[in-house]
Symmetry: C2
Subunit: 352 residues, 2 copies
């Protein structure tokens, strides 16, 4: 048996490392390559051990653990959702995650996932839209111009050819921020003063608002035939963005039905309302868009496999980019049965 060096060390990708990785690879290429990982993992959906997230709810928010495994790799993400956090300068959502080797249980990568979740969410939206959006759509309405908006814009530019953006947010400062950040990146950007205005001429409508309540961002009359709706803001019980009538006119695509019934837009519908899981469209087991007049809805809540894919993507970039630090996370005594002796030897080495 070959001795394995540094069994105690786990690579850690910090927030700073992740920013530099995005900059080194380029945001659009990062999103496109990551989308390839997400699509590849959805394609082998049936290999995964799937569980709904494990949530700890409190008055102020929720803390969730999202595990997933394909039998060779295991991943989980820690993620919180606390809408009031912005009042104290904190993020509504922060996250970190871990990738581990199923054969040994040893962690292989610890990574920040606040930025990475924003990237994987946008990449997944674009994967779904490639199967569901009307062909040739080059204009997207972006309703909700917060932390997720620019990532969505870039993923749809890189993967679907969206070059025209129509922005709307209840807070004009958010729209201005989004437009400023995307300036010079190849978009024709139109800030809009109403949702009705924003959806004009858009083949794709992305809703990414953050209200933790049953809101009605889109009403039925705003949604014309042939539109693809990418609804990513409704993602927990009691938080939805679309009027129920839109759902009834749409063909609804989801990540994992049992989770989306609880957390997605379809929490407004009876539990037997038909849905199609995205992996079935990707594998060809079910049709995506079938006609020019069809309204398609991707009712996205975020699923653990996407985090698995994202951590796998980052792990595969470690050697090339070397943007990580080495974390002394795992005890590694010379004799695995001698944990206590390791502590004693630490004392001896310190004293000596």
């Amino acid at each position: 048996m070959t001795p394995i060096p540094n069994l105690n060390i786990v690579p850690f990708v910090s927030v700073d490392d992740m920013m530099r990785l995005v900059l080194a690879i380029g945001a659009e290429r990062f999103l496109t390559d990551l989308a390839g990982y997400v699509e590849a993992d959805y394609r082998r959906w049936e290999q995964f051990d799937k569980t709904s997230r494990v949530a700890a709810h409190s008055l102020d928010g929720v803390i969730e653990l999202m595990p997933a495994s394909d039998g060779a790799l295991y991943a989980f993400k820690y993620v919180n959702g606390h809408p009031k956090n912005t009042r104290t300068g904190r993020q509504t959502v922060t996250a970190f995650g871990l990738l581990a080797d199923v054969a040994t249980g040893y962690p292989m990568l610890l990574s920040e996932m606040t930025i990475l979740t924003a990237l994987r969410t946008a990449a997944t939206s674009a994967v779904a839209a490639r199967y569901l959006a009307p062909k040739g759509a080059d204009c997207m309405a972006l309703i909700g111009n917060g932390a997720q908006s620019e990532f969505q814009a870039l993923a749809f530019k890189a993967m679907l050819g969206i070059t025209r953006l129509r922005l709307y947010d209840i807070d004009p400062a958010a729209t201005a921020k989004c437009a400023r950040n995307l300036a010079g990146l190849g978009f024709a950007i139109t800030p809009c003063h109403s949702i009705e205005d924003a959806v004009q001429g858009a083949g794709i409508i992305t809703t990414a608002t953050a209200d933790k309540q049953n809101a009605t961002i889109l009403t039925d009359n705003m949604v014309g035939a042939g539109i693809h709706i990418n609804a990513i803001g409704g993602d927990c019980p009691g938080k939805t963005e679309l009027h129920r009538d839109i759902l009834l006119r749409s063909d609804i695509f989801v990540e994992y039905t049992p989770q989306t019934r609880i957390e997605g837009e379809i929490q407004q519908l009876p539990a037997d309302h038909p849905t199609t899981e995205l992996w079935r469209v990707i594998t060809g087991a079910a049709p995506g868009r079938t006609g020019a007049g069809q309204i398609t809805l991707f009712d996205s809540v975020g699923f653990a496999i996407e985090d698995f894919s994202a951590l796998r993507y980052v792990r595969d970039r470690l050697q090339e980019y070397r943007l990580y630090q080495e974390l002394d996370l795992l005890a590694d005594p010379d004799d695995p049965r001698d944990l206590f002796g390791m502590i004693q030897r630490c004392a001896a080495s310190t004293a000596g």
Copy 2:
């Protein structure tokens, strides 16, 4: 509102930090103080949001997430169990954990937990034994002399006055290692050549073997009246250490019945066999030891509240001992809605 500095930073206690913390505090005091935290948290058992661990099983082992929350703090532990790992020089069990603030969902501490789990397991055993072991017992048989054994010995010395140890392991090298590590720490140590020999004169029998199979470390004839058995090696389905007949003669105490039915010694018994949860003994709701002839059994599998207590204990020692590093784990843009802009500014600062 007062700005909070360094919202991105989470203190990280590495393996090296944890060893130095144990050495700085002293193992016996660490165990005793930690036991105080465990006992205090068990005393307010009903405040906790309790769930069984979330396990991902594979052919070679298991990866588990163990969450717990008291409504103000949230903790989870990642822990693996892979018996074959020792063949490649790895630990059977490694672990790390996180403590977070329920009000914001923000992590407060990331810590190695391989060493910390060994400490909290021993501390919990000693808490239970204070309520269950025969009064005045000063001799303990320690069956299984692996990674957990020295921690058990020291916890029972510090908290119950155990000064005589009778050691047995199927591998004499493990016994020699345990005896060597404990030399000079205040014990009279007797290495034994059989389990029958080891249990002679012992008021407490601790079993801490690692076989992943239904083993029979203790048979019925080895266990006399009045003994306390501290059984910590049986901790997953199919892994037990005690003959069923011992269980039938014992009053059985557990951490959390639903989990222990699946993972503990009592998986050998019908699902309605009576057990007493430890917290009920600690709060006085149920009796512990009631007579000199009674056989008491603490069927310990490890419960998430103990990890919660352990992380809370370490968190409370950060400021005094300063044995941690600062981890850039959380994205902290100036404007929480401007995650993408934060990345762009990182590029600008690098280029500048």
